[in-house]
């Protein structure tokens, strides 16, 4: 890097020139916010509070969307009513120490608003577990190393589901404590429902096949980039 470039990058809060490997599509939420700010008249820009993200009503001047680096968990034969089990992992180590995390929102996306005839009215259950110290004393099964964060039922009508994980994400800033989450989506069968035959289960899980991916939107406030209160003339 030339000296000028490294100084310019430093003024932009970057230590090196980023080199993306497999750029992902730009999340529409970021594109919308970017376009809205770009079209603000300069007088409004001056008045707008650059240290607050009004779209989420939280302090912040950096918004990142982290791609999920987790993987699907396959347990051979489908378990009782389970349609999907996936490990989620978001690497928050890119956050600078001086940045204050003010919001973290998990988005679970499906490829379309799904009104599958086969699953019309079908209710699913979603569980999110936080995993922690997996095998301190050689525990082989990681079942014991998880804590239920969210449990809710839903009828798969919407394109995405949003969950506020601000508290959990703050803990992930310490990389050793960031062991990700486990997402489970199962057919809501209630306690007394007998496990459907495998074929039937697979047809009930069809609409969950429209599951696309998960991402984590994180808002942070970097004090360096806050406007020094400058006395107006």
């Amino acid at each position: 890097l030339s000296l000028q470039e490294s100084l310019l990058l430093k003024s932009l809060g970057l230590s090196t020139r980023p080199s993306p490997k497999t750029p992902v599509p730009v999340p529409s939420v970021l594109w919308r916010i970017f376009q809205k700010r770009k079209t603000l008249p300069s007088t409004n820009k001056d008045l707008a509070d650059g240290s607050r993200v009004e779209e989420f009503n939280v302090p912040g001047n950096i918004i990142r969307v982290f791609t999920d680096q987790g993987h699907f968990i396959h347990n051979g034969q489908p378990q009782r009513l389970l349609c999907l089990q996936k490990r989620l992992y978001f690497n928050l180590s890119v956050l600078e120490e001086s940045e204050r995390l003010t919001m973290a929102q998990l988005e679970i996306k499906f490829s379309q608003n799904s009104y599958h005839a086969s699953s019309q009215g079908q209710v699913f259950e979603l569980r999110l577990y936080q995993t922690f110290q997996m095998s301190l004393r050689g525990m082989s099964s990681h079942e014991h190393g998880r804590e239920l964060l969210v449990e809710q039922s839903f009828a798969q009508l919407h394109k995405s589901l949003l969950f506020n994980l601000s508290g959990v994400a703050k803990g992930w800033r310490t990389q050793s404590r960031n062991l990700g989450l486990i997402l489970e989506i199962s057919v809501s069968g209630g306690d007394d429902a007998a496990a459907p035959r495998t074929g039937r289960l697979q047809s009930l899980c069809t609409s969950i096949d429209s599951f696309v991916d998960t991402s984590l939107l994180v808002v942070t406030l970097s004090p360096q980039q806050c406007k020094a209160s400058r006395r107006r003339r």
């Binding site: 932009l12 980023p18 750029p23 916010i33 970017f34 300069s42 950096i62 990142r64 690497n91 980039q225």
Partner: protein
């Protein structure tokens, strides 16, 4: 007695156009948007007497007066940004995450002495 040299208006202190192109500095593969922006800069004279549109401080008025009396000893006041506005940049970081970052004071809107 102060000597007074009329200044053509075009070289008075004001914003000058400066377009920063990110592709010119080879940043086009990690900056998603904008591809560049008008940063502008301040350039021009702060002559005696300072007129209102030159956005001058009281000290600048004083300095131009002294400069008019002793041009060799005291320079003219500087022409500097007095109103700036922010920009937001959308880019990929090293982990392929998409980042929208807000930067204060990146565009010169007004200059003053």
């Amino acid at each position: 007695s102060a000597h007074y040299t009329p200044v053509t208006p075009s070289n008075l202190c004001k914003p000058r156009r400066l377009y920063i192109s990110f592709s010119d500095v080879g940043w086009e593969n990690w900056i998603i948007a904008p591809q560049g922006y008008m940063a502008n800069y301040c350039l021009g004279e702060c002559p005696f007497p300072l007129t209102a549109e030159l956005n001058s401080t009281n000290h600048a008025i004083l300095q131009t007066m002294v400069h008019s009396l002793d041009p060799e000893g005291t320079p003219q006041p500087c022409c500097v940004p007095v109103r700036l506005s922010p920009i937001s940049i959308l880019y990929y970081d090293n982990n392929d995450n998409v980042v929208l970052r807000h930067y204060e004071d990146m565009v010169v809107d007004e200059c003053g002495c």
